[in-house]
């Protein structure tokens, strides 16, 4: 396992199969697809940043890398992907075995190129706040203070804009010093970029050019006209603060039996249009703060009467929600526009009710936006997350913009697509597979927003047919992959990160053991989770549990050690041993068992899953559980109900929630206040330890997880119990030990699951 972590540390990449099944058939029989989880901006201080432009292959445009074969004498390098021989240009003339450019050092599989000066001026990042005002005063108050804080943290050079909305959309002209001024758009209509150009006076006093793309300073919009709406944070802080200060609940009256009239869709289309007009192609984020469902205009998800309940998964399954499809379509358009412009949509949804994250998911995910879901703008999940976005320091997000991700790979490998926060650029090439998963049909993707944790799941197709001609390339049994990421670094510069990796492939029936050595269970679990989520959304009548079970059984049949028809003989290699447990938990997870959650929550969970790296995905699938007691130091324990004991404190990290669970005895002591008494320092420390651990987790994680502190038998304990393996239930033959607990469920326990698996695998 650790070797995979090392590989990840170097290149930010983890693959399900690090030894690749070499033919189409082999790959198919391996069940878990050949795929990679790549974190393009994986933070690694060792990655060299090269202040010059990369050298490209004349044919396939791949970049010179350490796997290139170099002929120092003739100053020629051979591209490992297309085998084209390229001459070094003049400025590489001194290259020799002893004088290698950085990108040719074997350990420098990942390098970054920094744009040279002529690439143009550095463009500052743009933050456009889109703020819902249809909320109770209290929520508005929370939101105001959060925004005020964010404004304070904004980098000085970054540009800021503000849009508020309720029944109407208001675009605030922050550059107008005399009085608060805003443009008000009808909430029931979509607003196009052209309308924005026309209606917001961008051509005041000038004739509008009749042809050509018009947008941005480069296309002739005057800087002043743009600076009316987007200003350096340092210049408009006062105005921005005063507008935020005066934010009020949407003044349009709402009758008691109605939902507020909220035109989220129109607001976002105005925001997208405004950015499209002002700063196309340069990094910008729309940060939407939404306090309820959209009820007005395009993208609305529910009608106004409160008598109509908001859609649930059941309604969606039945297809009885007309607005849902319309809204999704609308947001797809918004997504397209934003991607075209290179802008990001971030969503901060804070309401007890659903706000339509499920509908907006497409726009957020395709643009690589951040999503935060909380119950209230007063909740720390929201407040702290927002602060984290602008905070600099160890745990800053390293928000980058406007990325384009491209891949090159060996001929026999094709790319089916990417599941993750990106959009296909529809750049079809020989390496695009006909089978499409996620964003496919291309070899290039747009990543409008990306940060140091953004991870893409690339699903490959092995195209090589079984047969005699299968072998023979001079390069031997290696597949090469090159990942290129151009992006606007958070300091404003354009950069290109190039990661080139190579994996050995094996073919034939004798290769099982070899394959197994390269199997990364965690990566596989993460990939399976993304796949199953994707399929649940994309395929009608898809049965995720059955699909997962089948996959697991097939995998175990292929790679397990057993005698046919003898379940008891079944065993799994350590390479595979915990995979069933991942699948077991995945089956029970929020990704698969959606009916406990609202469509918004599900969408939220999946978006997070789709952008996180393997380690975090694994936590989402199978939470970690740590036990604290007097008997021993903190130790991981099985995610099982039997872990509960009266004198233990458990710390559950399920990624979205961190639970500190006090056994009943501990809880009683705590309530008695022993921790504050002299002589009980140890107890105090015991109480303190999980708290500190939780703080560490919270500090590193984004969005900030929800912290639940609860006691055994308390109502909040459900956050723990729901995640535990129900090995002891209400109808278990053996009662739990004293201080233990039972789970009231009919779900099967892991033991039962394994029994079945063994039985089926050996058939």
């Amino acid at each position: 396992m650790s070797e995979f972590l090392e590989l990840e540390a170097q290149d930010g990449i983890r693959m399900t199969w690090n030894v690749i099944p070499g033919t189409k058939q082999d790959a198919a029989s391996c069940v878990v697809p050949v795929s990679a989880l790549y974190t393009p901006l994986y933070p690694n201080p060792a990655i060299p940043v090269l202040p010059y432009a990369p050298l490209r292959c004349r044919i396939c445009r791949s970049i010179l890398n350490s796997f290139s074969v170099v002929d120092f004498d003739s100053k020629i390098w051979q591209c490992p992907f297309c085998f084209q021989r390229n001459h070094f240009p003049q400025h590489y003339s001194t290259v020799s075995a002893s004088n290698l450019p950085t990108e040719l050092y074997p350990q420098c599989t990942t390098v970054e190129y920094m744009a040279t000066a002529e690439a143009g001026p550095v463009s500052p990042p743009v933050f456009l706040f889109v703020v819902d005002t249809c909320m109770i005063e209290e929520e508005i108050g929370y939101l105001k203070s959060a925004l005020a804080q964010a404004v304070e943290l904004l980098p000085d050079q970054s540009l800021v804009g503000l849009i508020t909305f309720g029944t109407y959309v208001q675009v605030h002209e922050l550059g107008f010093g005399l009085l608060p001024k805003s443009y008000v758009f009808n909430g029931t209509k979509e607003v196009t970029k052209d309308q924005i150009l026309e209606q917001m006076g961008f051509f005041a006093g000038k004739k509008k050019p009749t042809t050509g793309v018009i947008a941005g300073a480069r296309d002739g919009l005057s800087a002043e006209s743009i600076a009316r709406f987007l200003l350096p944070a340092s210049e408009c802080e006062f105005m921005l603060n005063s507008v935020i200060e005066e934010l009020q609940k949407d003044p349009w009256p709402v009758s008691a039996d109605q939902r507020a009239s909220r035109c989220t869709g129109a607001a976002l289309s105005v925001a997208a249009g405004l950015l499209g007009v002002c700063v196309p192609g340069s990094g910008a984020r729309i940060m939407a703060f939404i306090g309820g469902p959209s009820t007005e205009g395009p993208g609305s998800i529910i009608s106004k009467p409160l008598s109509e309940p908001i859609r649930s998964h059941k309604d969606l399954d039945k297809g009885s929600v007309a607005l849902y499809n319309k809204a999704v379509k609308f947001y797809e358009e918004i997504a397209k526009q934003l991607v075209h412009q290179g802008h990001v949509l971030d969503l901060f949804a804070c309401a007890l009710d659903q706000v339509g994250v499920a509908e907006m998911k497409v726009a957020v995910e395709r643009t690589g936006g951040i999503v935060v879901l909380a119950e209230s703008f007063g909740h720390s999940v929201f407040k702290d997350s927002l602060r984290r976005i602008f905070q600099s320091g160890d745990n800053d997000l390293g928000l980058c913009f406007n990325g384009i991700f491209e891949i090159n790979c060996s001929k026999d490998v094709k790319i089916q697509g990417i599941i993750g926060p990106c959009t296909s650029l529809e750049k079809k090439s020989p390496i695009s597979s006909d089978t499409v998963v996620g964003q496919g049909n291309t070899s290039a993707w747009k990543m409008c927003g990306l940060d140091r944790k953004t991870s893409l799941c690339l699903v490959f197709d092995i195209a090589k047919k079984d047969g005699p001609d299968a072998i023979g390339q001079s390069t031997g049994n290696q597949f090469y992959f090159q990942f290129l990421t151009y992006y606007q670094h958070h300091d404003g510069q354009m950069r290109l990160r190039s990661t080139t990796v190579s994996r050995r492939w094996v073919a034939g029936s004798g290769s099982v053991q070899e394959l197994l050595t390269g199997f990364d269970q965690e990566a596989a679990a993460a990939v399976m989770a993304r796949l199953v989520s994707f399929k649940m959304e994309a395929e009608v009548d898809f049965d995720p549990v059955r699909w997962l079970d089948r996959a697991l059984i097939s995998l175990c049949s292929k790679f397990g050690d057993y005698q046919k028809e003898t379940p008891s003989s079944f065993s799994l290699s350590p390479r595979l041993s915990i995979f069933p447990q991942f699948i077991f938990n995945l089956r029970r997870s929020q990704f698969v068992q959606v009916f406990n959650n609202s469509p918004d929550e599900t969408a939220y969970f999946r978006m997070m899953l789709n952008r996180e790296n393997v380690a975090n995905a694994v936590v989402m699938i199978q939470p970690s559980l740590i036990s604290y007691s007097f008997q021993s130091g903190p130790e991981p324990v099985l995610l099982d109900v039997t872990a509960i004991a009266a004198d233990r404190i458990l710390l559950l990290d399920s990624y979205f929630t961190v639970v500190i669970f006090h056994g009943i005895t501990i809880a009683q002591w705590r309530k008695a206040g022993y921790q504050d008494q002299e002589g009980h320092e140890v107890f105090a420390q015991l109480l303190q330890a999980p708290q500190e651990e939780a703080d560490t987790i919270i500090k590193e994680r984004f969005p900030v997880p929800r912290l639940v502190v609860c006691d055994q038998y308390g109502s909040q304990a459900r956050f723990l119990l729901a995640k535990l393996n129900p090995s002891v239930t209400y109808d278990s033959a053996t009662p739990p030990p004293p201080g233990g607990d039972v789970i009231f469920t009919d779900d099967v326990s892991f033991q039962v699951f394994m029994d079945h698996l063994q039985r089926l695998a050996v058939q």
Binding site: Y168, Q170, E173, F176, L178, L179, P180, K181, S182, Y183, V184, F185, N186, K189, Q195, Q199, M200, G201, A204, G205, K206, E246, P251, W252, P253
Partner: protein, 1076 residues
């Protein structure tokens, strides 16, 4: 237009100057005029070749030349101040014929006034405004003058020295004893005059308010009405029409003088108290109306000089009919001896005593007897129409309209036709039933309303109940008249801030005008205001108090507009006044660098409308350029029309039609929600008034036009117009219906309103300047001598939020004699009808056709008279009915008016059409037939007692190179400066010593010299009379402006237009050819 004139008139009884304005006295002056051509030519049928005036001859068949003759008796005695008639003529200097006795008068007056009123005068409450100063308002107004406050006037008023002319005399003057019979009566008048003083004296004190105050309707402005009457006074008093632009502008425009006067204008109220009834014996005009009159009908009120002029050999230009200025005040009882009395000329000054019929100011008919049959009407060639001006300004001395509250049961009405109870409903059977005078239905009298009849067959309480003895009353509206709470007074201002508007100073002018006018809005919690500006987008401002600064909200979608907020855009004035003032101050700066040239006028109106949709109210729009974008945008059709001449000429009138239905549709929606739009056009180019004016004219508003806008001279007018607009007597969310006796039916209404059902018209707003014309047709016959009644009911909401029904009744005798129709014809009303008809034809027919139509209407009327009423002997003569003797002159003026002449801008014509549609009788005549006076000799006049010198005849013989003349039509004032004017005079009036230094856009300042003061006084007096500030323009000989000025001289021969004499010949010839 309000009828302010009275104030002065009384004071200056003297012949020379006629305060009332030329127009005013016209009607009175003539008796039959018979013009005959020299027999020979006629006989031959063909006009003499030359055709000029010369050839034709006028021969007064009957009378000796001197016009005065007919009534020889009347004028002379010196003792009688009265001679008014004569003197006008005299002063006019024209023909000897008229001139009678004049001289004496001036002097007489002094005595009266001097003493009685004197005191008040000193008090300085110059009644109406300062202007009179010298002349002395004393008579009536004197006292009221409370003016002290209005410094503006102050200047002028000062001159109290001459308390002069008081009102007393005026009366007498006014009623010239035409007939022998009258003399007796006359004699009394003078006296009565004498007696007046007492009143006058008393009143003064009481009257104060008139000027300064905001319009108070309900209030009892002491000034205006003497306590005695006052039941509950309805809307008697009127606010001062204008006020000088205070603060800011003042200096700039030299307003001071003006301001002063402005107020006075209003004043009328105050002044004439004395006249009232006491003095005037009911019998004054006793028999005047009687049928027994001499064959040449003379109206009682129009005693004068009339005449007949004629010289056998040729038409003497000095003898043809011309208006005579009437300067005296009469008291008019609306019914006498059980019959309708014939009302005095609209332009004369009179005080109405409502004795059953309404004041003629509120409603007057084209004929004062109604033809029994439709055939008779057709034969006469005359129109049958009512001019209804429900909020016409009363004379200050008149009794206010009384308010009657029937409580929950509401006003008593006929159960069949729903007519309101009025003095002509007949109670029978001990009062148990009453018979409706309109439909003839017999109704049960409600039990609460029972009252026994007296021996005379009238209810015993008839004299105590205003609704049974007054022609005009107001009822408190009961619940059944309320579909919702009466609306608050809502004013929403929309200001064009597009690039040109800002550059030309129009935006600043509008902001400043609004800011100053705020204090004239009705006070109280129900007065709400809102504001928005617009260019290619619409900018709303939320003035909510809790925010320190107003919030500016822009609506960018001008195809599909909306309001950005539901509340906070329109707030009670009291809550947002300061922030509004600040905002108005900063708007010009805010848009200083605006580079948006487009203007979304239609969309802005729509947005403003949406903001006030829930309440209704007034939308005041300041527009400076052609609306080029958004809903209802327009194009520069005029230019397109010009460039495409071939179709252009034929279809030229199309440019005077709205370009499409968009604005009309919008306007109908506005009207439905009780939003009235007034548009102030401060432009320097074509803006397509034809299209724009649809909105105000459908919603009860009007267009004001300032073309070409001058930041120097126009802001003062803009402010005064706005101020008068919001402070004049007015009502909101009104519905009006006119009912008439069986036998007639309403044919049509015309004016500025919206009509959804055939019977009613909806008026989102109605004010004192608006007149609605109602035409009738016969659907049955009347019995000879029966009465035909008309009742106008106007349901409206006052600016203070009370729902009222104003009911205006008039009942006229029916006749089957054509000669009676002519005798009782009302020239000014008929002419107003003609003007309105012509205006309504302009957009739909070629101009030449409209002119022909106008001429032929005139000819038909005269021919009818010639054919059926004139004696046979005069076959070769042009015979004019006494009452209509000025018809040819006015017709000629109409043909030459801005609206009907060929040259000129399309917008000017459209504007003319738009103002005519709601113009009152009082202003219609001067609009077409302007008044001209000379200014250079103001200080050397020998008729010092009148403020305004007698008007000059409108022909170029009166224009001398060394003179300075003012010609005004109630809208514009053209100052003509001859090229040989004494530099000293120039210096005095304009402050520059050479003609070249006089700016074309005049802002007449007052300098410290007598002439300048006089000029300003005169000007202010005219403004007051016209309720209009007048746009002053300089005209000089030799350039375009001079040519234009000359083109306004109606009597002159113009290129393509006949001279007056030629026209008479033409008319005569046409009649003759028809006769044969």
């Amino acid at each position: 237009m309000s009828r302010p004139p009275p104030p002065f008139a009384p004071q200056n009884p003297t012949p020379g100057p006629n305060p009332a304005g030329p127009a005013s006295s016209l009607p009175a002056s003539f008796s039959n005029l018979q013009i005959s051509r020299a027999p020979p030519p006629f006989a031959s049928g063909g006009p003499p070749p030359g055709n000029g005036p010369a050839p034709s001859s006028i021969r007064g068949p009957q009378a000796p030349p001197p016009g005065a003759r007919p009534f020889p008796g009347s004028p002379p005695p010196p003792s009688q101040p009265a001679p008014p008639l004569a003197r006008p003529a005299a002063s006019v200097q024209q023909s000897p014929p008229f001139g009678g006795p004049p001289a004496a008068q001036p002097q007489q007056m002094p005595p009266f006034n001097g003493s009685p009123f004197g005191p008040p005068a000193q008090v300085q409450r110059a009644p109406f405004g300062g202007p009179p100063g010298a002349s002395q308002p004393p008579p009536f107004s004197g006292p009221p003058a409370a003016l002290s406050q209005h410094p503006p006037f102050g200047g002028s008023p000062a001159a109290p020295t001459q308390p002069g002319p008081l009102g007393g005399p005026p009366y007498s003057a006014a009623q010239p004893p035409p007939f022998g019979g009258l003399p007796g009566a006359m004699a009394q008048r003078p006296f009565s005059g004498g007696s007046m003083p007492p009143f006058g004296g008393q009143q003064p004190p009481s009257q104060q308010g008139p000027y300064g105050g905001p319009p108070q309707f309900g209030g009892q402005r002491p000034g205006s009405q003497p306590p005695p009457f006052g039941a509950q006074v309805a809307p008697p008093s009127q606010p001062p029409p204008f006020m000088g632009p205070p603060g800011l502008n003042a200096p700039a425009f030299g307003p001071p003088g003006w301001q002063g006067q402005a107020r006075p204008g209003i004043v009328p109220g105050g002044m004439q108290p004395p006249m009232r009834m006491p003095g005037m014996p009911g019998n004054m005009l006793p028999s005047a109306l009687g049928q027994g009159m001499p064959s040449t009908p003379t109206m009682p009120y129009s005693p004068h000089a009339g005449a007949q002029v004629s010289t056998p050999s040729k038409i003497d230009p000095n003898q043809i009919p011309r208006p005579i200025t009437e300067t005296s005040v009469t008291i008019f009882e609306t019914r006498q001896g059980g019959q309708a009395a014939v009302p005095p000329a609209a332009s004369s000054e009179f005080i109405v005593k409502d004795t059953g019929n309404c004041s003629p100011r509120l409603m007057r008919c084209t004929m004062n007897q109604i033809p029994c049959t439709g055939d008779l009407l057709t034969t006469s060639g005359m129109p049958l129409a009512l001019m209804v001006q429900p909020f016409a300004l009363p004379h200050p001395s008149e009794e206010p309209i009384q308010l009657v509250d029937f409580g929950e049961m509401g006003p008593v009405r006929c159960s069949r036709c729903k007519a309101y109870i009025n003095p002509f409903m007949r109670f029978v059977d001990q009062g148990k039933f009453f018979i409706c005078n309109l439909c003839g239905f017999s109704n049960d009298t409600p039990r609460e309303y029972l009252c026994n009849l007296g021996p005379d067959g009238r209810r015993r309480d008839a004299d105590e109940r205003p609704e049974l003895c007054r022609g005009t009353v107001e009822f408190v509206a009961s619940k059944e008249f309320l579909v919702r709470e009466p609306m608050p007074a809502v004013y929403f201002f929309l200001i064009d801030v597009s690039m040109n508007a800002v550059h030309t100073g129009a935006t600043a002018a509008a902001c400043s005008a609004i800011s100053q006018a705020l204090s004239d809005l009705p006070e109280g919690p129900r007065t709400m205001v809102g504001i928005a500006t617009f260019d290619s987008t619409i900018h709303f401002y939320s003035l909510k108090r809790s925010q320190q600064q107003p919030l500016m909200l822009i609506v960018p979608d001008i195809q599909d507009v909306y309001t950005p907020l539901q509340t906070d855009l329109i707030l009670p004035l009291s809550e947002c006044r300061e922030s509004l003032e600040q905002l108005l101050e900063s708007i010009p700066n805010m848009f200083e660098n605006n580079r948006v040239a487009d203007s979304a006028f239609g969309a802005a109106m729509k947005a403003g409308f949406l903001a006030m949709k829930s309440t209704g109210g007034k939308l005041l729009v300041f527009q400076s350029v052609l609306p080029s974008v958004g809903t209802g945008s327009l194009s520069a059709r005029e230019a397109e029309g010009r460039s495409n001449i071939s179709t252009g000429d034929k279809e030229a009138h199309k440019l005077l039609q709205p370009v499409d239905k968009t604005l009309k549709t919008m306007a109908l929606e506005f009207a439905e929600y009780q939003v009235c739009v007034d548009v102030f056009i401060t432009t320097q180019s074509y803006v397509d008034i034809a299209s724009i004016s649809v909105v105000p004219s459908t919603t009860g508003g009007r267009v004001y036009c300032y073309f070409p806008f001058s930041a120097l001279s126009d802001p003062a007018k803009l402010f005064n117009d706005l101020r008068w607009n919001i402070s004049r007597p007015q009502g909101f969310e009104a519905v009006m219906r006119v009912r008439c006796s069986q036998g007639l039916q309403v044919q049509d209404y015309s004016g500025n309103f919206c009509k959804r059902v055939p019977t009613d018209i909806d008026l989102p707003a109605i004010d004192s300047d608006k007149t609605i014309m109602v035409t009738f047709k016969h659907d049955d016959k009347f019995q000879e001598n029966s009465e035909c009644a008309f009742q106008c009911a106007l349901l409206y909401t006052t600016v203070y939020g009370q729902r009222r029904i104003r009911v205006i009744n008039i009942s006229l005798t029916c006749t089957s004699m054509l000669s009676n129709l002519f005798r009782y014809a009302d020239l000014e009303t008929q002419f107003t009808y003609l003007v309105k008809q012509a205006a309504s034809g302009i957009p739909s027919s070629p101009l030449s056709q409209v002119r022909d139509q106008v001429t032929s209407t005139c000819i038909n009327i005269l021919q009818s008279y010639r054919k059926y009423c004139a004696s046979v002997s005069s076959s070769g003569q042009l015979i004019l009915p006494e009452a209509l003797k000025l018809l040819p002159l006015y017709t000629l003026a109409l043909i030459k008016s801005i609206g009907l002449r060929n040259d000129g801008r399309v917008d000017d014509r459209s504007y003319w059409v738009s103002i005519v549609s709601s113009i009152s009788v009082l202003l219609a005549v001067p609009l077409v037939f302007p008044r001209m006076i000379s200014l250079h000799d103001l200080t050397s006049r020998d008729d010092e007692d009148t403020l305004i010198p007698n008007p000059l005849t409108l022909n170029s013989e009166n224009i001398h190179d060394d003179g300075i003349y003012l010609l005004e039509n109630g809208e514009d004032g053209f100052i003509y400066v001859g090229n040989a004017v004494n530099p000293v005079t120039l210096e005095q009036i304009f402050g520059v010593s050479s003609l070249a230094g006089v700016p074309t856009q005049l802002a007449l300042e007052q300098f410290d010299n007598e002439l300048s003061k006089k000029v300003n006084e005169v000007l202010n007096e005219i403004r007051r009379q016209r309720c209009s500030y007048l746009r002053l323009r300089l005209c000089q000989k030799g350039d375009q402006s001079g040519d234009f000025f000359r083109s306004l001289l109606v009597e002159d021969k113009a290129p393509g237009g006949l001279s007056y004499v030629e026209f008479l010949v033409h008319v005569h010839r046409q009649i003759q050819s028809k006769m044969t």
